[in-house]
Amino acid sequence: MRKCLAILLALALLFLSGCTPREDHGPRAWEAGFGMASLQLPEAGEEPLYIAGYRNGKEITGVLDLQQARALWLSDGREAMLLISVDCVGLGSDTVARIRSGLADFCARTGCGSVNIVATHTHAGVDTLGLWGPVGIDGKNDAFMDLLVAGAIRAAEDAYADRSRGTLQWAVTKTEGLQEDSRDPAQYDSNLYQIRFQPDDPAQNPIRLWSFGAHAEALRSENTKVSRDYPGVVCDLIGRETGEDALYVPGAIGGLIMTPRLKEDVVENLQVTGQRIANRVLADAKWKEIPPELAVSRVEFETELDNTLFLYYKFLGILSNPVRQDLLGRYYVTTEVSVARLGDVALALIPGELFPELAEGTGNPTDPLGLCQIAEENGIHHLMILGLANDELGYIIPPSDFVLDEELPYFREAEGEHYEETNSVGPQCAADLAEAFEKALKKLP
């Protein structure tokens, strides 16, 4: 009897010791910080530096402005995330994994639950995907990739150190005449999306995250000098005009959506394009406050790797995503999609260049529902697309418009305008992405 009582008492004590009163985090409040690191070019060595975006084997001949990594630390007092914007054409999942791994101790120390890396898609940067070396040869420069990873980590750590409390707002501004779509149907999202952090401490700089749906190609294919392209010009102008720290993330730029050519001289074109976009970014906007609630969810998913060229690049070790093969011989590549909910605004972090039709919805039964439609069905009325986030699968094309050359699929463009298919993983990606996006939405608390 005594033994039973003693055991019961011990169990009761054990049970009660596990029942702590719910920790009071206090009221939620936004906290944000900004960090930036320039990505110096490595010393001239054995490995050349190739310029990414256009033709194979084109070496860099100079610098207009250095590529940068810009980071935003965001927290609501309970959850925290990092958004790192890197000036480059794209980052494969291996580089994203390296950056995340380098921030593992940082995340454990700070409670950061989500590290997200977005490429600005500048077509005037060092090749960071390996696709622009001589044909079949990895165009990445190992020394530069090490500098890029170190720069991204440094920017993230600086963003955390810079953090302060304040309010968060968002705005959507219409634009006109700043984009053109070279592929039919000519469709693009002409909205400029912005999230602005206003610190309580007037000594701290406000921070502006802005997103626009146009390829960073104002310098066009003639250019062989390193530059951030128009996102860099706009961020610098924002800094000069307002004292804000700015970072850019691309929107749904698949299609191929670019800024129009306004000047013959490409450097002049860059400056004029940047000024025009900055004018819209800095124009009066209807800012709406975002209540301090942050939640992030991430879903890994597979999609069929149908593109033979990408298969060769994977074989040669140039592309890095994990692949598997099924019993029928089809290959599948693993990637990820994330959703960050900030109050009643959500950011969709998409691992490639999404066609805007897939954000809005095409209405075609062969195509998946638009991401905005899926978001609406799940109670999210304001969705911001962040492309080239945490991976770069290439173009993500509506299946109804996915056409391949019959004789040499992926090696030769099909009749009409179907260049984007040659730089995509395959026709299944859009549907697999939509499904994974919905899962990510449902996973949000």
Binding site: P134, V135, I137, T308, Y312, K314, F315, V323, Q325
Partner: protein, 124 residues
Amino acid sequence: MTERKRLWALCIRAAALAGAGALCARLLLQNLYRFLTFDPTFYDIFAQIRDAAIRPPVAALTLAAVGISCLADRMCGRKILRIFVCILLWLLLAIVGVLLTRVNGIRFADVLFSLLDVLRKGGL
């Protein structure tokens, strides 16, 4: 020879055949570029896989090797003939092994046959 000894001999023979097949596949693919000196482009391209993750199909090779060993075991006739047949079958095993070997997760056969098809159609 007792049944047990025969079984051991069979296992050792199969393991040796499979191991040799896997090693052969790995060495061949790691050094494939050395056979392409006639074309500097292909030489440079395939030199990239010399340090790649190369995974021969060990399970398939082992199964095939067991089959060859059993066959050799059951063959009647002169020893020299049995050895010759084994060698031929092993060569076949090695070729299939190379084709089924994965480099960075992609089967060499998938790349080879696709590339040959593209070359035939003038795609490169």
